[in-house]
Amino acid sequence: MLRLSLRWRVAVAFGLSSLVVSSLFAVATWHLASSYMLRQREQSVTAQAAANVRLVEGTLRVGSEGLTELLTGLAGEPRSTILFHREENWITSGRQVDPAVLPAQLLTPAREGTPARQRLVVGNVPVLAVALPVAAEDGIYVQLSPLVELDRSFRFLSRLLIAGTALSALVGVALGWRTSRRALRPLTALTAAAARVAQGDLQARLPEQSDPDLAPLAVTFNATASALEQRVRRDARFAGDVSHELRSPLTTMVNASEVLQRRRGELSATARKAADLLAYEVQRFRHMVVDLLEISRLDQDVDDQALEAVNLGELVRNVAASRPGDVPIDVEQPPPLVLADRRRLDRVVANLLDNAERHGGGPVRIAVSRRNGCVRLEVDDAGPGVPVQLRERVFERFARGARAGHRSDDDGSGLGLAVVAQHVSAHGGAVWVQDRPSAGARFVVELPELPR
């Protein structure tokens, strides 16, 4: 079933009410106006017929010679017909009509001396028929006056009323739409604010509302957002504090483990195995703590001091050059600049290359180009790609193992892509993963371009 939005429902309700009210008025107007006009017409036709009958009687009294001319003269109105019945004969003038079409209900009362009146359709023309007895010669005078004009007026009136009703319904809908939009404007603001919160802007708040119906909503929303912000900050600080406290013991562990590794040869087989395990895990632990510190540091705001004009192509070349392997790098000329914290961008590029190394069998192409005011960095690998349903999840913290094809001896921290996502968003950019045209994954970073 079709579910209308609240706004549409209000608009439709407005439209329906205005339709009902205006059609009531239209029907009433129709009845009053049409019956009044008809009555007027009937009265005038009847009065005229009575006058005509008097003329006819006068003429008959003098003799019947001038009767035909008189009748012709009386039927002056176009398309009107006058029939006169005398001595079993009908005299017709004006528009020719077969007297047989006249109904008995009309003629019988007249024959018996009572005037009669009836609306008829004769030869496709609506007429008002008036039948009057003519005292002299026991005749019947029948006058058929066309109602074409009146009919046209009725048709015009009815069209006018229908159009008016329809128009008022439309105006009702428009009014309802406008009103509901005004009434729902705070809800629109709420939606926008909630969306900003969902995107991670924890400082989004609703403006204070003066309307007593809306004020509690704004207050509740803002309180919820504040509580959420505090909680997220507390969690982030906690993660940062924990990592910070881990630095010192970790330094001891890493270096003690290095000493052990250097003396592997002096150890018994069992001790060597244990020392290797220890060294491996300590290394992994170190990566994790470094990445956690990186992330929790970013939860504080990016300091503007560190921002500078960075040649992204050059930066990518440098990061790639500090790693083993030779990846083709395409940089659009002239190389685009971005306003960025160089250290963080280094991390972004290095982590994307790490990721390609771990999950995609190594990067096969890196490209830096311009697109709609943005600088675009693409890192391609020829691995199994990232399934559509995981494309957002891979950027979450500790999303490791979510991807097919991850290695069990993976020594990553599970935070690499999360660091990428945070750094990129702190620079006002976006990062996502898509299919590489030939096979594999393409990680795309877009950052606002700094004009040269």
Partner: protein, 230 residues
């Protein structure tokens, strides 16, 4: 590498582990648990390089760093617990040649020590080599001397190498990466705050007006060059 290293670190276990690991890397390690102890040690013995934790009880690392710098150009590598910009920069501003962040690994640290010690002030041929001139600043690479208006300017060996690299390029742009690689000498990764602070320190020492540099110029998005008509 036969380097004598003074390790100033208040955490005893870190001191021990790092001492063992550095010894494995070929360093002779002298330990100090506080700033006072470090300054005392340096009064009685000579070392090639100082590893200095910035967070020390009593006389803090920054003070130790400034004190050492005011006495000469003994190479200093600071150890920071926080990699915040502010912390690193204040350490470099205090005169350190390089910095490392905890958790640090002895092998990486040793690479930096080696690079720092390779950064020699004097050329091998002895005095009398070619001289470079930048406005009123004269550089004698082979003597390791820089003069400004015939007065010798005190530069650390890092600042000196930096200036020579720029001067030798003779007005061509030297990228940040090239400078980091040539002066600091290890595979650059991460961070150019090191370079920026050293450039700032260098400008304070040789420029007439450090806020409007005429000798060492920034090339936006690329690197630095010396002013031709300085």
């Amino acid at each position: 590498m036969e380097a004598r290293v003074l390790l100033v670190e208040d955490d005893e276990r870190i001191r021990q582990a790092l001492g063992l690991a550095l010894a494995d890397e070929g360093c002779e390690v002298v330990e100090a648990a506080s700033g006072e102890e470090a300054l005392e040690q340096l009064g009685s013995t000579t070392v090639d390089v100082v590893l200095l934790d910035l967070m020390l009880p009593g006389v803090d690392g920054l003070t130790v760093c400034r004190t050492l710098r005011s006495h000469g150009d003994l190479p200093i590598i600071i150890i920071t617990a926080r990699s915040d910009t502010a912390d690193v920069i204040s350490g470099l501003e205090a005169g350190a040649d390089d910095y490392v962040t905890k958790p640090l690994v002895a092998s990486e640290l040793a690479a930096r020590i080696r690079a720092l010690l390779r950064r020699r002030r004097f050329g091998s041929e002895g005095s009398g080599g070619p001289r470079l001139r930048l406005g009123e600043v004269e550089i004698r690479p082979d003597d390791g001397v820089v003069c400004r208006d015939d007065n010798e300017v005190d530069l650390t060996r890092t600042e000196f190498r930096l200036l020579v690299e720029l001067a030798v390029a003779d007005g061509r742009v030297v990228t940040r990466e090239e400078l980091l690689q040539r002066v600091w000498g290890y595979d650059y990764f991460g961070d150019t705050r090191l370079l920026d602070v050293h450039i700032r320190r260098l400008r304070r020492k040789i420029e007439a007006n450090p806020n409007e540099p005429a000798l060492v110029l920034t090339v936006r998005g690329v690197g630095y060059k010396v002013g031709k008509k300085a």
